[in-house]
């Protein structure tokens, strides 16, 4: 599903440049649930940005579902993001003046899905995250966990190839975190490919594979036995 070869990325900081990614090689199969771990400054967010086509690499190869991602202009990148990727952010990033349902429907709107179908689909995904009754509520009327579940529904609504989650539990207490992880695991159970950036070991343990980043290189890449979040809920 994802194939990365010798990926480099550096940022210019005045006169000297900061080499953030120093040759990353890894691939993700369909249906995997991968945790990308590392301390801050390890390059994990940069990697996720490049995977999410929010940033460009300096050199190296990135193939997503057989499509080489290279030299995209803004329009193309937006279309690819819409088609291939679902995003879940640490701070949810819901649009505050839109209801939960409208937020979920937004990627479908950009896919030019008709209004009726869009709302039906969105309601279905809201139902999947258990928030059907909250469809008409504004984000400000939802709890943190609920907001993140809406965000996950939004990411899933466009039926992406890969779900990218950047610290999805970073702003949540542990109980809510486990609820969200439970949801993510269930989505993964359905065969969806998911990448999670996290620095919390207990969250990482709930994935099926942990990729450890340090100073811009992968120091460890291991498959683990998944801890189900269900038992903590």
């Amino acid at each position: 599903m994802i194939e990365i070869k010798d990926l480099h990325k550096s940022y210019k900081m005045g006169s000297n440049s900061l080499h953030v990614l120093k040759g990353i090689n890894f691939s993700v199969e369909e249906g995997e649930l991968v945790a990308i771990m590392g301390s801050s400054g390890s390059g994990k967010s940069t990697l996720l940005n490049i995977l999410g086509m929010l940033d460009n690499s300096d050199s190296g190869e990135y193939i997503l579902d057989g499509v080489p991602i290279k030299n995209l202009n803004e329009t193309k990148a937006a279309q690819y993001r819409n088609k291939f990727l679902g995003f879940v952010f640490q701070s949810f990033n819901l649009i505050n003046y839109k209801s939960a349902l409208e937020n979920v429907a937004l990627p479908l709107y950009y896919q030019k899905v008709g209004r009726k179908e869009r709302l039906e689909k969105s309601l279905k995904y809201l139902d999947q995250v258990g928030l059907k009754e909250w469809a008409e509520h504004l984000p400000s009327e939802l709890s943190g966990g609920q907001k993140q579940r809406v965000a996950i529904a939004r990411a899933m609504a466009a039926e992406p190839k890969v779900l990218l989650a950047d610290e999805p539990t970073g702003a949540l207490d542990s109980k809510t975190s486990y609820e969200v992880m439970d949801l993510i695991q269930k989505i993964n159970d359905q065969g969806n490919t998911i990448l999670i950036v996290t620095h919390e070991p207990d969250i990482a343990d709930m994935c099926k594979r942990i990729v450890h980043l340090k100073d811009g290189v992968i120091i460890e890449d291991k498959k683990i036995k998944q801890v189900r979040a269900e038992q903590y809920v």
Partner: protein, 418 residues
């Protein structure tokens, strides 16, 4: 067709409605600008209409020609000779100068601007008495308060009838007294009043206190023979009055053996000059109003752009999220520009409605019968269309500034956690 996309519009309304108060404040600038524009245009249109109304019935392309004394000797004649037009001159001029549309000969009792005593039941009025052709009405329309003006029958039968001025009426009659059908005596001859007219306050050539009788009656009653005092002439539309004026003078100078360089023997007054000056004045006024109004509108639209720039900055994160979810730069741009257009057009309509209301109220206050040169203050349809097209055009151009700013927002920057 994205223009009819319900979702697009609900996106726009949602983001505008999110901050009603600020949207309203933004609109206020354009509302006021539109009010100013429409009031200025309406006012200058009203002034132009007012002048037109005042001069209604007066042929704008007309001139008056009268005779004086020569100032140059010619062909054995000494200078200072009095020229006397004859009635036949009217026919000759009409025949030979085809640009002449209407020619109304006139004769005056006594000397020029002289007054004659008009009697009625022991009351008197010192009035100017004119012998006129009915077609004078085609050049200078008389506003009749009562009765009618002289007509062809009066002329043909040399009827002893007259039309008197309001001032004359006041001197000869009691208030509210019926004058039509009553007689007045001029130089021992009785004339039956058939009409009373109200002189035009703004363009008054005949004076306030005047009596008109048919030309033919004048000839018989006062023995004026074939003499003619002066002529009121209107020329064909699209013809320069000055050109016709010089043709007439040339012809008359030739006929009466006047030195071609003599500037004083024949007097004339070109009424079209007055009209040209007035229409030039109102034209300039209209132009200036439009210019000032459009600049005001521009200022209003720039205010919108400013607010949208601030809004874009505030919405950085939202726009970043939209981009991450698949909004292309074009979509983002379109939304911001349409927001700009929406605010502008909506505000423009409100301003327009307010201004039209004010104009209607002013119209009501001025009323129909007023001598001040303001009448029917309104904007014309083309002015309205031009204003709106300009406004929308400006809002698109100026909406592009915040729109481009929004597009420059990189999703990665927008989404960076603080």
């Amino acid at each position: 067709m994205w223009l009819f996309d319900k979702d697009l519009w609900s996106e726009i309304f949602a983001s505008l409605g999110k901050n009603m108060f600020r949207t309203f404040l933004t609109m206020l600038g354009v509302i006021i600008a539109m009010v100013i524009l429409v009031l200025l245009l309406g006012g200058s249109n009203g002034m132009s209409n007012g002048f037109n109304k005042i001069f209604a019935g007066t042929a704008s392309n007309s001139l008056f020609v009268w005779s004086q004394r020569t100032s140059e000797p010619y062909k054995g004649f000494e200078r200072g000779r009095r020229i006397q037009f004859k009635l036949e001159d009217a026919g000759i001029l009409k025949e030979q100068i085809e640009e002449i549309e209407v020619l109304a000969p006139r004769i005056e009792l006594g000397s020029h601007r002289g007054v004659v005593t008009v009697y009625r039941n022991g009351r008197t009025s010192g009035s100017a008495v004119y012998g006129d052709y009915p077609n004078i009405d085609d050049i200078m329309k008389k506003k009749l308060v009562e009765g009618r003006f002289l007509n062809e029958n009066d002329m043909a039968d040399s009827k002893k009838v007259c039309v008197i001025g309001e001032e004359t009426y006041k001197l000869l009659f009691d208030k509210e007294e019926n004058a039509i059908g009553k007689d007045v005596r001029i130089n021992g001859v009785f004339f039956n009043i058939v009409g009373i007219y109200k002189p035009n306050q703004n363009i008054n050539i005949d004076g306030e206190n005047s009596v008109y009788i048919p030309f033919s009656t004048f000839q018989k009653a006062f023995g004026s023979g074939d003499r003619m005092g002066w002529m009121a002439i209107s020329v064909q539309p699209d013809t320069q009055v000055t050109i016709v004026e010089s043709k007439i003078k040339q012809l008359l100078k030739n006929k009466y053996d006047i030195n071609p360089i003599d500037e004083r023997a024949i007097g004339s007054f070109d009424l079209s000059e007055v009209f040209n000056n007035i229409s030039a004045f109102t034209g300039v006024l209209k132009g200036v109003s439009f210019f000032v109004g459009i600049l005001t509108l521009l200022a209003g639209v720039i205010a919108i752009s400013n607010i949208l720039l601030i809004t874009v900055k505030e919405r950085t994160k939202e726009i970043g999220v939209r981009r991450a979810l698949g909004a292309t730069p074009k979509v983002v741009k379109r939304q911001i520009v349409l927001e700009s257009i929406m605010i502008t057009v909506f505000a423009g309509f409100i301003g327009f409605a307010i201004a039209v209301g004010i104009l209607a109220a002013v119209n009501g206050m001025i009323g129909e019968d007023s001598d001040i040169p303001f009448y029917n203050l309104m904007v014309s349809i083309p002015q309205f269309i031009i204003s709106f097209v300009l406004m929308v055009g400006l809002s698109v151009l100026i909406g592009l500034i915040p729109a481009n700013r929004a597009v420059r927002i990189k999703p990665i920057e927008a989404l960076r956690e603080e």
